[in-house]
Amino acid sequence: MRFRPAQEGWLPLAAGLTVFILLLLVPLVVTDVFWLGLGITVLMWAALATAWNISGGLAGGLSLGHAAFFGIGAYTSTLLYLRLDISPWIGLFAGGAIAGLAGAVLGAITLRLRGPFFVLATLAFGIVIHIIAVNWRDLTRGSAGLVLPFGGGPANMLFAGLEPYWYIGLGLLALTIAVTLAIQRSRLGYYLIALREDEDAARCLGVRVVQCKVLASAISAMLTAFAGTFYAAYIQYIDPASTTQFEISVQIALVAIVGGVGTTLGPAVGALIVIPIGEISRAWLGGGPALMVYGVLLIVIVLAAPRGVIGALEWLAGRLPRRQKASRHA
């Protein structure tokens, strides 16, 4: 269930491409605004959780501060657009760069921290960014939030319909998964896994801890910021409550954990389960009751599959052949 260096093979690649092509066709079939909107939200959270997983799963530190990077992405591209008329398509990379830098610094600071101390450090970092977003009113307008003007046009990542956001969201998710796969197959992937398995042994083989963890943290932060820019362009309104708030950090980690930390596709699968439960129960039941249903269902999932959905599936897959063998002998 944990990251292992990826195995080569054309079959997973073919399967992946097929799914990708099928997903490209979704807007042709799903035209209802509610369902397509839900699909776009799932794609965004899938990308967020997959990005989180690069530091949380591969490098092995449970971060509860990723909303900070999400917020940095959302605010950077939005402010560049509102203040300097720079397209969010460019702001995307500016936000990614700033978040990447912040991720690198956070990675360097939290390098030697273990378990709860690591979690607390990332949590504190998230809170600092949130406080800045709320209180630096001259820049962010605080909790009043920022509105992206209507009619910015495709050149500014602002569209009238939902379909373009579906495709951008899909591209974002494909990018985060591709980056995850590339890391797994690379030197960095081997080093991160080795460090997580046994840091002392890895160091004595020449693996440089600082480089690896800083790089993983920066990549994870950058991809998370991309999703932030996407969110801002999609919702066309951002405020601290919807971007830098602690709950966002929790949900990013939660989605990944439900799907399966450290697995390549687990975080995306987690989003496919968690986000619809949350959104649909909110739409049908409204506020309070929805939150309860959402909470109870999450508890059930985590109890039923403590290693995530992918972990549970792998466990099942591991048992099936054995059961067949056993029955043949019986």
């Binding site: 292992r4 030197r187 896994i193 080795a194 398995e197 046994d198 890895a202 160091r203 004595c204 083989l205």
Partner: protein
């Protein structure tokens, strides 16, 4: 090649290594022996950079290593195994070795080739795809050696790799060490199997309660009164 200068290591009041000094010349097979708790592994940890000595320094090919961590020392050519084995348990045997090869600048594909060749050399080729955690202890020890070898070290520190091996396996290990020495590798070996180590060691350093109480050729050391008293018990009949 390696010079340990007046190295002292204190663990909260316990002096594990006390002003230890010795040198190893390039191409040599040196043995580090002594009773349990003498400080042998601690000395390895100092040389490989896992712990900083309370005082003293380590020089490798004339360079002071004090400011370098384990990764840099490994990249300079110091390889080591761990007495308490530390496999990357969730990975295959091959991927364990790949990590070592990768740090020498090989591409992932090249590193896979190196890993397989290294495993073949240690008669572990058939285990390449087994999970490291599934190996019995003797093979995990051999994996320690394979991983370290894949980093192409010039000095290799082996910490009790022969414990638990049968006589045939011990002879295989000795043959491999001699072969690698022919290829230019220098060894510092911690071993309790005196019969075995005295066959190949050219220099022996004896540690007792953190102090070096004797060093010299196997013949000199095995005749040393103090060494016999604290460690060997009775003179060894030559093997």
């Amino acid at each position: 090649m390696l010079e340990v200068r007046r190295v002292t290591v204190d663990f909260q009041g316990l002096r594990a290594v006390d002003e230890a000094s010795f040198r190893i010349e390039a191409g040599e097979i040196a043995a580090l022996i002594g009773p349990n708790g003498a400080g042998k592994t601690t000395l390895f940890n100092v040389v490989s950079g896992m712990i900083r000595p309370t005082s003293g320094e380590v020089l490798f090919e004339g360079r002071d290593l004090s400011r370098l961590g384990p990764a840099d020392r490994s990249r300079m050519g110091i390889g080591r195994t761990f007495q308490i084995v530390k496999p990357f348990g969730g990975l295959t045997v091959r991927d364990n070795v790949v990590v070592g090869a990768l740090t020498r600048g090989q591409s992932v594909a090249e590193a896979h080739g190196t890993a397989l060749a290294t495993l073949e050399r240690l008669n572990m080729g058939h285990l390449a795809d087994a999970r490291a955690a599934s190996l019995p202890l003797a093979l995990r020890k051999r994996l320690e050696v394979a991983r370290a070898l894949a980093t192409t070290p010039r000095l290799l520190l082996l910490d009790e790799i022969m414990g638990g091996l049968n006589p045939t396996e011990v002879n295989e290990a000795l043959a491999l060490i001699s072969e690698l020495r022919q290829e230019g590798l220098t060894f510092l070996i911690i071993e309790h199997n005196m019969q075995a180590i005295m066959q190949i060691a050219e220099r022996v350093v004896v540690l007792n309660q953190g102090c070096i109480i004797a060093q010299g050729t196997p013949a000199e050391v095995t005749q040393d009164r103090q060494v016999i008293a604290v460690y060997l018990g009775e003179p060894l009949e030559s093997a």
